[in-house]
Each structure stands twice: as C-alpha cells, then as structure tokens.
C-alpha cells in the first residue's frame, strides 16, 4: 500500500478542521438560499396526524378510495383562498394519552389534537389539561368564524358549557357521537329470537349474547374489550355512586365500593365470559379485532361509536360491507341499542359533541388558518363540496352520509340526491335520534371548580377490570373491587387539591343538587331506590 495515501491522526484532524471552516460559510449561504424561497412558498404549515384533516390526497390515494376525490376538491378550494398554507402529516398517536402528552411536553405535537384524550378521556380531565396549558385557546376562531350561529341548539348545549373555560375555549366542534351496541338482526330473525326492547338492561344484553353464541358456527355473542367489565357496573351508576366527596381530606374525593350489588353484577359478567363462553375477549385484542370479528361473523354484538359504524360498503371491514356480502339491506342485517339501563333504573346517555383542539405551541396565525380550514371543511361550504364530490365519484349514498348526528343539523347536502335515511334506512335514523334525545345527567365538569393539581388516576380500577375480564381462575370480584378502592384511596392520600374547601363544597353542593333534580325527573325508580338513600347517607353528611 502506498503510504502517501494514508493520513496520520494529525493530518486527519487538520484536514477536518480546515474543511469544516471552509464549508461553514458555504453551507450557511446554501441553507439561506434554500430556505428563502421556501418561506415565500409556504409561510404557514399545519401539522396533522391525519385527523381531522389530512394533507391533499395523492392521485394514487384517490384511485384507491374514490370518496377522497370530494375531500381533495374541497381542500383545494380552501387552499386556493389561503395561499401559502401547507399541510404536513406526522406520525403521532393523538388518541393515546401518554403518546400525545409526551409529544406536547416535547414540543413535537401536531397542530390538531383531541382534547379528551389529553385529559384521560373525561371532560373534567380535559378542562384541567386546558388550564394547565396543554391546549391553545381557540376563542378567537369561535368569534371570527361565527361558530355559535352554525350549531343546532342541542349541539351548542352539548359543546359550549364544557368547552368554555374562564375567558377561552378549549376546542372547536366538528361532530357528535355516542357509543351503542350493534347486533346482528338477521341472526336473531333466523334464530326466532325477539329483538331486545329499546330501553334494554344488562340482563337483556347478557341473554342476547348467550342467544347469539354458537359453537357450531364459530360465533360468540358479545365482543368485549377490557372496559366492558366496568360498563356492567357503570351502567348501574358505579361511577357516580363510588365517588364520594371528602373535603376534609387533602384530596377532595375518595372511593367507596362497598355496595354489594357491584360484586353481584361483576360475577354475572364473569359467568358470561368463563362459563357461558359467550364473550369474545382476550388481553391482546384491540377495537380493530372486534370490528373485524363483527364484519366476518365471529361475534354477534359489540360496542362501537356511531361515528365509526357508517362507512360505505367499499371500506373493508365496515358493517355495510357485511350487509353487502350477505346481499341484504343494511337495516335487515344490523340493529343497535344504546347503553343498557341499570337494574336499579340508572340510565346513561353517552352522547357528546367532539371538537378539535390546537397544540399549545401553535402561533396565532397558524391557529387561525388551522381552524379556518376546519370550519370550512366541516361547517362551511367545503362540507357540501366534499359530499357532492364523494357522491359524484362513488354514486354511493352510504359513502356520503357517514355522520349520523350532524352538529349543524344538516341531513341533506347540496348536489347529493337523497338523505341520510335513504342511505341507512329510516329506522336507523329514528333509533339514533331516540338515543341521542334521552336525558343526560349533569356533568361534574360544569359544577366543580377547576383543579390545577394532578390527582390519582384510574389505573387501580383499570387493573380491576382487566383481572375480572381475563383471569379465569377463581377471582372474587368483591375482593378485586375492594383492592382497587384501597389502592386508589391510598394513592389519594398523597395528593392535595388546589381548590380550597369552601369553593369545593359550594361546587359539589350545586352539582349534587342538579343531580338530585335530574334523577327525580329522569328516573324516579333509580332516584327512590338508589340515589336518594346514597345522597342522604354519603354526600350530604360529607358536605355539611
């Protein structure tokens, strides 16, 4: 080897330093010249994880899903009016609390975020997160785009009280949804079983699950994720009745799971899972597994948000695709029921108005454009352009009418012949409106003072639902619940609230008085048998 071609350590160092020094100005010039035109072309970048808006679809994406043509047309019309704005897609799971909070704290969150996931899937948590600065104030856009006038009275009532916080707004509304149980109506007809009543109970649900279970057909009656175990008692008022105000403690709440009915209900659910084998359930399952299992006939019933259940038959795994495969009208194949009523008369209406929040690092100009796009695409002219374009590209009403609870009340769109009921059936629409119109209990978030400090989370109870759902060995649900209660209370002892006792007691009194009035009217049975005795014995003494 020619030694002249080898570089000594010293030569290498010299060369590197010299080259770096020489290149530094050159790279600066290049960087400057490269970024200069970029600034001209794109002054504002809206970063999205794909929700609620995606960047402009490519020709290939439109070819793969023709309904995207309408979206592309609408977005292009907005971009024509807003030159210099680009959308950039990033991979962040905005539906995962840990992932999105990590992204926000690291300064890498997208422009659009979902408030409830940041707040641990509760309105109170989302509001606390907002005042802790995890979301930007969208108030200026609410005023600028005349939002209030665009919403139906029901949607406004569902959105404004939760989202208006102090002088600002937490999110900009785009849709409304609620969870329901979908079941195979065609199988019930085949088996000669009557459909459950509209105001069904958990007993009805469990009987239906057993009836739909067939080992010969490889089908289980109910598909369930871990939280369904909690639903069995939450649908009987567990969330409300296990939460006791304790203003004398550092943390103002404690858990009380001593009511014996919780153990009985959970034992009945475990029997359904492990003895009747009527529940399709495994620790590794996600909601996708259930959607696919329902679409391919492996389960006869499962819980799903109405927002996710109205995809067109062109979408693989959609309920409409199942009906098409069976060559039957959608309404004949699938029916749904709202949350089951409790045996004690408790009823829950999970309807909500969903909104998009903006990441806290977003500047005012980007916030304005980001919400201008949202307003245009969901509540403005862009919505009709999308829908007309979707219909023109697919000629499929199911691809167009996929929002069953429009917050602006529009069930028909300009340029689309037909309406929601033409796509999905009158009965489907009537049933949705029936459940959406059920009374809704007052939300704690509207009465209690905002909490600045973090408190104990729901991990102890999530562990309990997991044990009850998956552990086949002898498990005593009462012991599991008691352990969760003790763990939670032990954790709570380490926290202190930012709310002073007087403010807490005033808020709590107003909240429970509202609940007292609500239950007296909405469910006298629950009020007399359960709420009133509990209110008198646990709440009133605690609040003095």
């Amino acid at each position: 080897m020619n030694k002249q071609h080898l570089m000594s350590r010293r030569q290498f160092l010299k060369t590197t330093l010299t080259a770096s020094a020489a290149l530094l100005p050159a790279t600066s010039v290049l960087a400057g010249s490269a970024s200069a035109p970029a600034r001209v072309q794109s002054e504002i970048t809206i970063i999205t994880s794909g929700w609620p808006l995606t960047p402009m679809p490519t020709a290939e994406e439109i070819e793969a899903d023709k309904a995207r043509a309408g979206y592309a047309e609408a977005l292009q019309s907005w971009m024509d009016e807003n030159p210099g704005v680009t959308f950039q897609q990033v991979e962040v799971n905005i539906w995962d609390q840990q992932a999105i909070v990590t992204a926000i704290s690291g300064g890498t969150a997208p422009t659009y975020v979902f408030p409830t996931s940041i707040g641990g899937w509760s309105n109170a948590g989302a509001r606390n997160a907002f005042i802790q600065g995890l979301m930007a104030d969208v108030g200026p856009a609410v005023e600028k785009f005349g939002l209030i006038a665009k919403l139906t009275p029901g949607a406004l009532a569902g959105w404004q009280p939760i989202n208006q916080i102090e002088d600002g707004y937490m999110s900009y509304p785009i849709d409304s949804g609620m969870n329901v149980y979908y079941f195979r109506r065609d199988l019930l007809a085949e088996l000669g079983i009557e459909e459950p009543p509209m105001d069904w109970t958990w007993d009805d649900l469990m009987n239906l699950a057993k009836a739909l279970t067939s080992e010969a057909d490889g089908r289980q009656g109910l598909g369930a994720l871990v939280w369904v175990a909690g639903s069995t008692i939450n649908d009987n008022g567990f969330d409300l009745l296990s939460n006791v105000p304790t203003p004398q403690n550092g943390w103002n709440w404690s858990k009380d799971t001593s009511d014996p009915r919780w153990g009985e209900l959970l034992t009945a659910y475990r029997k359904l899972v492990f003895e009747d084998k009527a529940v399709y359930s495994d620790i590794s399952y996600t909601s996708e597994n259930l959607v696919n299992a329902f679409a391919n006939g492996a389960i006869g019933m499962y819980q799903e948000n109405v927002l996710g259940a109205f995809g067109s038959a062109a979408q693989e795994g959609s309920i409409a695709a199942l009906a098409q495969r069976l060559n039957k009208p959608y309404e004949e194949v699938v029916g749904f029921r709202g949350m089951p009523r409790g045996a004690n008369g408790y009823l829950s209406n999970p309807i909500y108005v969903g909104g998009v929040a903006i990441g806290p690092d977003t500047n005012a100009e980007t916030l304005d454009k980001a919400l201008s796009a949202v307003d245009y695409m969901f509540l403005g002219a862009g919505w009709d352009i999308q829908k007309a374009g979707q219909y023109a590209a697919t000629q499929d009403l199911k691809a167009v009418f996929n929002y069953p609870l429009p917050i602006d009340g529009k069930y028909t769109y300009e340029g689309v012949p037909g309406a929601f009921e033409d796509a999905w059936g009158q009965r489907t629409k009537d049933d949705i409106l029936y459940y959406a119109g059920l009374p809704k209990a007052p939300d704690e978030a509207l009465y209690m003072p905002l909490e600045q400090n973090p408190g104990p989370d729901g991990q102890a109870f999530e562990d309990a639902w997991s044990t009850i759902s998956y552990v086949a060995d002898s498990v005593d649900p009462v012991a599991v619940l008691n352990q969760a209660q003790d763990t939670w209370n032990s954790q709570a002892a380490g926290f202190s609230s930012s709310v002073d006792d007087a403010a807490f007691i005033a808020g709590a009194k107003a909240y429970y008085e509202a609940l007292d009035a609500f239950w007296k009217d909405a469910s006298p049975e629950f009020y007399e048998s359960t709420f009133k005795p509990w209110y008198d014995s646990k709440v009133l003494p605690a609040l003095g």
């Binding site: 010293r10 160092l13 840990q98 641990g120 600065g133 995890l134 806290p360 997991s466 552990v471």
Partner: protein
Amino acid sequence: MAERTIPGGTTDEVAQAEPVEAAPLRLSRRSRIEKWMFLIPAALFQLVWGWFPLVFAFALSFTDARVRGPISFIGTQSYTRMWGDPLLGEAFRITFIYAAMSIVLTFVIPILVAILLMEMPQRVMRWMMLLWFLPLSGIASTILWKYMYNPEYGLMQGIVRLLGLPEQRFLNDPNLVLFWLIFPGILLFGPGLIYMAALQGIPSSYYEAAEVEGASFWRKIWTISLPRLRPVISMMLTFAIIGSLQEFYWPQIMTNGGPGSASRTVVMYLYNLWGNLRFGDSTTVAIFLFAIIMVITVIYRTFYKEDPDA
C-alpha cells in the same frame, strides 16, 4: 505431567519475570490539544444526551412540573407520594421477577446452547447462525406473537393440544404472563451469536492441548470456554441487567401491563404517570429506577472478575 506453555515461555518463567516499570508518557502541548479535540465531541454528546437529562430529571422530581405556567419547588413531596404508592411497589416487584426470569432464560441458556453448538459440524453451525441472523421487525414479531398466543385459535394452543397438555390462557394468565412474554426471547436466542463469535476466537490449540491431557468435554468447557467468555459475559450481563430492569416494549404492546397489574413494569408505570400529567412523580420513579440499576451494576462489577486468567 508436561508443563503447559504459553507464548514467551513457561508459566513459571513469566510469573518469575521482573515487572518492567513503564516510563510516564509525556505528550507535547500540541498532542494534548489534539487529544482534547478528539475527546470533546464524544464528551459533549455524553453531557448533552446522557448527564444533562439525568440532572434535569433529578431537579424536575423536586417540582410540580407542568407543561405551561410557573413551576414551584415542592421538596420531597413526589418522593413521599411515590414511596407510598402501592402500584409502584407492585411494578418494582414485577420488574425484578421479570429481570430475574429474563436473565436466567435468555442470558444463561444461550451461553450453554452456544457452547454445545460449537461441537456441531461446521455446516450445521453455519445454518443455525444464518437462521438467527435473519432480520425480524420488532413490531411485526409482537403482532405475530399476539396471534400465536391467542387462547382460542393461536398456534401455541395448537401445540399444547397436540402435546396433550392442559390448555393454557397464555397472556391472560397472571401467574405465567411474564414467562410467555420472555419466551420469544428464548427462541430468538438473544445474545447467543455473540457468544458463538467469541468462542470461535478461542485458539483450537487450547482444546487440542486439553484433549492431549485427557480432559473431558465438560472439563474443557469449565477450564477453557467459560473463562475465555468471561469478558463477553461480563459486558452482556451488564446490558441484560440494565435492559431487563428497563423493560417496556413487549409488555406494553402485548398486554398493556395486564392482566390486572401482572406484567406492568416500572418503566410502563412511569410512562403512564407522565401521560397523566404527573411529570414530577414520573421523574421521581425514573430516579428510583436509576438508583437501583446503579447499585446493582456497581455491586456486580465490583465482584465479577473479567480476566479469563484470574
């Protein structure tokens, strides 16, 4: 018995040789500057990405840290709170069991397998190495294993049925979930390839000499293979201890810590706390874990002898 020889003379001659005192190395000023120029990038990297986060996390654990707004010093509140948190105690218990099982099953077994494989014909050995070298996506393999562990239709249940064993609940069984999470690591052979590479570096003359001496198979392993592997074992064990105590990825994807809390590790709990906006508590747990790993590693490094001839 013939005296064993090593290059440079007999063992006795080497042992009796006078130690040569090394002259102190004096570097010129220019060389010293150069030395620092080479060191600075690595030192900066270590400071920025290693020590700064550690110090920052330590400071954060004494505050009510939040994303926006003023941060207050709260003393040892987070330490007191987390010390009394039953779920954290449980997470540490799970993590220690997981680490112990993981080290026994995916660290010790590969050493034995690697040694035994060295006895196989070269062709077989090459095939085995090729199979283990096949790149596997981590995410893809977790998804695959989720299906394989399904108690209804998974491949593993099929094997269990074929063998006439009682049906398993796999990841749904709180008593065995940790084993089933570690099990793929046994099949994937873990660090076995590194041991095989190290074993191939041992001169065959050592084994030939031992055979001439009449050493048995096990005697050769005990006196030649294992001592020569010591430096590699030492390094790999350090990584294994740290890695297993920081386990996150597999249980997070496969079980999300369940059933109950049966597979929730400390890092998973820490991550949950962070997501629940408990930044001070989360960093406190990180400090606890750091201290424990540090103590275990120091104790182990103090008592473990790396020198093959020691």
